[in-house]
Amino acid sequence: MTVYRIIPVGDQALSIEFANKIDAQVNRRIQSLGKTILAAQLTGVQAVIPAYHTLMVTFDGLNQTYKQLVQELQPIIDVGIAAPLPLQRILKIPVCYESPFNPDLADVAEFAGTTTQEVIRLHTQQPYLIYFLGFLPGFAYMASVVDKIAMPRLTKPRVEIPAGSVGIAGIQTGFYPVTSPGGWRLIGQTPLTLYDADHPEPFYHAGDLVQFEPISKTQFEKIKAADQAGRYKVKVVQKNA
């Protein structure tokens, strides 16, 4: 039994709230509910925005009221939370864990009391769920890395982190789509262009799984050149629910 509640967020949005924790099953439910709600094309519904344990639904206050929308949503949610979860995609993202892309890898290894090779193995052994995108366009909040390498973020954030950098912040992991400031522990970099202002829509979305694949510096340069020429295709695998 999945417990949820609906609360208004201003006069043109509402939030469907689930248990207050980072939980892959709950979040996958949220992702699939978001799709179901949009597909239902309810009057005035404008957009859905998932996060860890909440799903915001925004609506046009000129055509819809909170009370009415809650009544229309309730049966859709009740059916939705009992339905089987949809299939997931696993996107294989190449990452070079070598210098100069790994400024914090040695620190993470020391934190874990192990070797850098072991940190790389632990980081690449399993896929991570994209819980939601936020902060920056295409910035994916992914979790959970194994506790051993879940090193807290830097106390003093870096002023500039190169685009494509892959990092760890507690149990979260992720990549920086654009050059930006940030406090995550950087352990590698992907050669893929994650954000392109001319084609800004990301190729990954909330609800997808991401698995990192270690590559050498030579492969990094090759993939980077191929990607920029539009010749690199990200490997996608379907996973059963």
Binding site: G10, D11, A47, A51, T54, Y66, A197
Partner: protein
Amino acid sequence: MPEIVVSKPGLQTTVQDLGRPTHQIDGFPSSGSMDRLASRLANVLVGNKDNAAVLEFSLLGGDLIFTTTTFIAFTGGDFPLKVNGQSISANRAFQIHQNDHLWIGPCRQGRYGYLAIAGGIVEPTVMDSRATTVRIGIGGHHGRALMSGDHLPIKTVYTLPAFAHRLAEPLTLPTSAQTLKVRVVKGPQWTKFEKSAQQQFLSQTYQLSSQTDRMGYRLSGKPLKTGVANMLSEATVLGGIQISANGQPIVLLADRQTTGGYPIIAVIISADLRVFVQCRDQQRIQFELVSLEAAQKALLTAHHRLDDLQAHFFNQRFKLPIEKTRSAAQRIQKLF
């Protein structure tokens, strides 16, 4: 190609429309006009749809040259306007001729002004919208604020039905002499604040700081005790009042991040958000708690006024005075 040539761009002039709310799921700010009602009014005055792209001026105006005949209307903040050196009125449709020079002066009251052009600014859309998000460099004119020498694509428009009837009352603007009352509803984390903090939030007078941009406006007052530690990030909402770690509020606006981890004590009601965004630095503000029903009613009232205006223009389309450009309509008029 009919265009607007930007001679002087102003301070932070951007192309805006109703934004791209459906792409927040991929982390893109919604963006769009800060004063939604003013940009809608400007569009209504020139016969555009609500989502037509307009120019949003912030504090300073600019100089624009039109290479074609069309109609314009300016609304929102109180900016002086001149065409070829002659003053013209805001809040009404005005016919522009080829090579006309539109000067928009510095804002006298309010903050944001909107220039609508018949047919809209027809820049290519990026993810369903022409709204500019300067922070991430997308939409509008090459993802940035206007610069001298820019050319903006528009349409040639010779006629505008009921042209002479297309005028409206100016929309309300805040005055610095008076404390502005801004109505709010309880936010998703309202109950996470202690009673005393809730009371303090509603009773004290806040002052708008100088840290104000399209992402958000910071207010200053006696700090609130937040009492919410380690909140999981959630989607943000337009007009949400976030209480930061220092106890001071930030009102989240059009270019806000799509998710955030600070508690939202209250949300400014949609009907009052437009007056709030028109506030200048140092403006004194008091929040007043209202019910969700009252908020919905206020929003409907504000927009019904514009619906009525639209219906009025439609009904006046064959009535005198008929402008000289509508020669056919004038001949029809003579038959009766």
